[in-house]
Amino acid sequence: MTTFTTWDIVRNLLLATQWTILLSLVAFVGGGVAALLALLARTSQNRAARRLAVFYIELFQGTPLLMQLFLFFFGLSLVGVNVPPWLAAALALILWTGAFLAEIWRGCVEAIPRGQWEASSSLAMSYFEQMRHVVLPQALRIAVPPTVGFSVQVVKATALTSIIGFVELSKASTMITNATFQPFVVYGFAALIYFALCWPLSKSSQLLERKLNVAHRNH
């Protein structure tokens, strides 16, 4: 039996961390796009589009991420589509992230005073022109802190994908524990790595919030 040094453990954990980071980025960027589409549908004048957006958001907010992962992984293979774990993980996380970001951003859009809509309407702008040039630029500014804050949840959520066999930090920890029988050391380091990823994010979210509040007057 080979022996593992602490460095071996850490090195292997760090290798797996790359996948956690990549999956987080994919989920966050893809989820951002999904959220933007859902947001536009959710606030549009079209009833069917609004309903569809609400259905999507409530479905993904109202069920555990774990179930979503199972459904993408096992469900799709049941209907004959064979999805590898990384694809199921990415799809589920993108849609899950999108549902939450859509609601966060909707709150930011609704925080824009009605007068901004009325003024831009009276200047003959269409809904998309108003969104693009008047509402979203202002909503973006208030959306940054909660969005960065939510990215912490995304990073932590990637841990769940270990369940369907995607080898990221958590799955790697389990595998290394099985080989080394040193759960405390392995999970301790894994927790430290998660913390190192998440803490700067939540800290910068707080800083941004303070900064944007101050900067509001000075642009």
Binding site: S122, L123, A124, Y127
Partner: protein
């Protein structure tokens, strides 16, 4: 031919009928003051004219553009009438100049260069050419309202709707805005303004509309309306009864 034709317009909020059959024709170049008690429907009438509210009955036509609920009709209508609000509603993330440039560029697809020239002309018209690069929160209320006027003018509207545009201003800032409006009136702009500035209404307006409980209760030249109000309600409004 009148520029703005308002015919039998009715507007309800739920069961509350706020406009009860409004008829009003406004000729090009005419300046009209709308006065009346709070809740008489003055704002609602103005908001209907550029489609911020839908109407339940009747019709509103501005220079051939008919009020209807769809985007195409609304856009056509709003290209003909601009609106100035009590709360200015400047876009806070854009400079004064950019506020004025935005809609011509976005809606009319005017080039940035042309839009900037136009914006400078319009800001000069309201006496604020030196504030082109200032953000709204760096301007006084009176200056913000003048930028809002310049912004509306940059779309070259045939008529302007003004809803109590000096009511949110400190008293010492009211005059600079009224002067701008007076100048527009003198230059032949068609104006429909809800106002509490009775002296200004008397000096500048061609006709005064007194609204009462959702109806045009009395209408006429300021001389008649102010000197010899015919109805009890108008006399009460002036505090003469």
């Amino acid at each position: 031919m009148s520029l703005i034709a308002i015919t039998e317009v009715r507007k309800r909020f739920g069961t509350n009928e706020v406009l009860k059959g409004i008829n009003l024709d406004v000729a090009a170049g005419e300046v009209i003051a709308i006065i009346g008690k709070s809740g008489s429907g003055k704002s609602t009438l103005l908001r209907c004219i550029n489609g911020l509210e839908t109407i339940d009955e009747g019709s509103i036509v501005v220079a051939g553009a008919q009020l209807a609920a769809d985007e195409v009709h609304l856009r056509a209508l709003r290209l003909k009438v601009g609106m100035i609000f009590q709360g200015f509603n400047l876009f806070p993330h854009l400079t004064a100049g950019r506020n004025v440039m935005l809609s011509p560029m976005v809606v009319k697809k005017v080039s940035a260069k042309e839009a900037e020239e136009e914006a400078r002309v319009r800001l000069a018209q309201v006496g604020l050419d030196h504030k082109f690069d200032a953000y709204p929160d760096q301007l006084s209320g009176g200056q913000q309202q003048r930028v809002a006027i310049a912004r509306a003018l940059a779309m070259r509207p045939l008529a302007l709707l003004c809803d109590e545009i000096t009511s949110a201003l400190d008293p010492e800032l009211v005059n600079e805005v009224l002067q701008v409006v007076g100048k527009l009136a003198a230059e032949g702009m068609t104006l429909l303004m809800v106002t509490h500035e009775m002296r200004f209404a008397r000096e500048v307006c061609d006709r005064v509309v007194f609204m009462h409980q959702g109806r045009v209760h009395e209408i006429g030249p300021p001389g008649d309306v102010f000197e010899s109000p015919k109805t009890l309600e108008l006399r009460q409004f002036f505090g003469m009864a």
